[in-house]
Symmetry: C2
Subunit: 291 residues, 2 copies
């Protein structure tokens, strides 16, 4: 990757209150303080999205989710205008037409009052094989009950935070078990989400995803998948899902912004099928999003 | 705080394999990349300790715990020699005689192979009032069963990671409830630890702390407190502790490296007493540690 297809934009003030300044800097230099709570405590939030041919996909749902994450963490309100402008600048500045764009906001330097924020864009990787052939996925205990976001909001479930070490550890556990990715289960036996994805199940022409009142993220790619379902005359539903339904379903997918849509071809070591026609058509719809 | 009493030392290679170089840099400049997994995922580990009159307190237990955290996160082994040397340099370089020293290691730049590490030292704050008069503490659900470190090690309980957003959120919840700090309970009803401290209970001449096989950190200040107990002819025990024991105990303390020892003077809104003589004597012992 060259430095012209990678873009780093620092925000003078992520809240936009003191300044709406956006500065393009060298992504290979250091721009974060060791005193920043983003690094010392993982105390911040992020979003990641695809920008294809100049279009930041599902930008507004991502910005809305970022605002929700900020509220869950009692962070100052991010200026969605500033982040929107920075995303647009990153897309314009980069020489690449297919970008992964990350939006970050931290609580800033410990003891200070200013937040830290940036937008970073780089060319996305190639997910062709995973999208076509599927992934080997294991289910892992997330340790929390499905209702923990309601009973114990300080656990920050449902917020997209920089404290993602557990999500990385879960994927390493999958790799140790000769698998590629993870579907988390609640301690009381419900299907939650992947470390970086939303779970979608197919039962004939009915498509189901775990309800977001279970301390999980509202998936932006999954929402677009449901649009695709609605447009093609299928039915969709948000509800509780049990692990045996992951076995019984005609297809299981993991939807996320960058990988977009990958089918599950093996679950907990057992091969499973998926609807290749629906998978290909939905992927085409997701990649073709113009907003 | 001046820049001469604050010291930031960057490690050329935290594993010590490629280099044992240590560079002193301006702590007010930026030295971390936005691509560092320490900030993008809270994917790293840390330790914090007190250095009083040239002595890094409980340095060896802190280094041993850092090595355990690295193993739990599948990080490369940190070079304890390099961190030991950096701590010594920080103490020598600073003009302050009472320092908070932080040791950090991250997984480094995403996609790279090198870890990132530094040691930072600054003068400690003043905890006189809290140590003498105590804190108002609330109990909060940690969401996990007490045995989750055994059943689900990918949840990283028992590792001191940079993914500490939940710990910060818990303290904000305490502040919302007009309290100062938190004692976490497991979802199945055991006393765990504070967001940044170890819980110690006194029953006459018997001192108890929650067993570390419950996904909680081995406390370095608590270990020194138990040395004090042993030396003064009292008995000590690691075991399961239930919330009603926090009410029944003669005293409850929170032990940690920087605040050292603070008594709990109010629990969940109810005033409670503590043994002022033991509290003062133990604090004096902790502050006087020469190793």
């Amino acid at each position: 990757m060259s430095t012209t297809d990678r873009v780093l934009l620092l925000l003078d003030d992520p809240t936009g209150l003191a300044s709406v300044g956006i500065r393009s800097v060298d992504p290979d230099s250091e721009h974060v303080s060791v005193l920043d709570l983003g690094v010392t405590r993982g105390d911040g939030i992020f979003e990641a999205l695809d920008a294809i041919n100049g279009v930041a996909q599902s930008l507004e749902p991502h910005l809305a989710r970022m605002a929700r994450s900020a509220a869950l963490l009692d962070l100052p309100k991010p200026s969605l205008d500033v982040y929107r402008a920075a995303v647009a600048s990153a897309i314009t500045e980069s020489t690449s037409s297919h970008l992964l764009v990350k939006l970050v906001m931290t609580r800033g330097i410990e003891g200070g009052t200013a937040t830290t924020g940036w937008v970073y864009a780089e060319p996305v990787g190639d997910f062709t094989a995973a999208r076509r052939d599927g992934l080997r996925v294991i289910t892992l205990d997330r340790g929390y009950r499905h209702d923990v976001a309601h009973t114990s909001p300080w656990l920050l479930q449902g917020a997209k935070t920089l404290s993602y070490a557990v999500n990385k550890a879960a994927v390493r556990e999958a790799n140790r078990r000769d698998a590629d990715d993870v579907i988390f289960l609640s301690s009381d036996g419900y299907v939650l989400e992947g470390p970086n994805s939303t779970v979608i199940l197919q039962f004939g022409s009915h498509f189901v995803t775990p309800a977001t009142d279970q301390g999980i993220l509202a998936g932006t790619a999954q929402a677009a998948f449901f649009e695709f379902c609605d447009a093609s005359g299928n039915s969709t539903e948000y509800r509780r899902v049990t692990p045996d339904e992951l076995v019984a379903a005609d297809s299981v997918w993991l939807a996320s912004s960058v990988r977009q849509l990958v089918p599950v071809r093996e679950l907990d070591g057992v091969p499973r099928g998926f609807d290749r026609a629906v998978s290909a058509a939905a992927l085409e719809y997701l990649l073709g999003r113009r907003r």
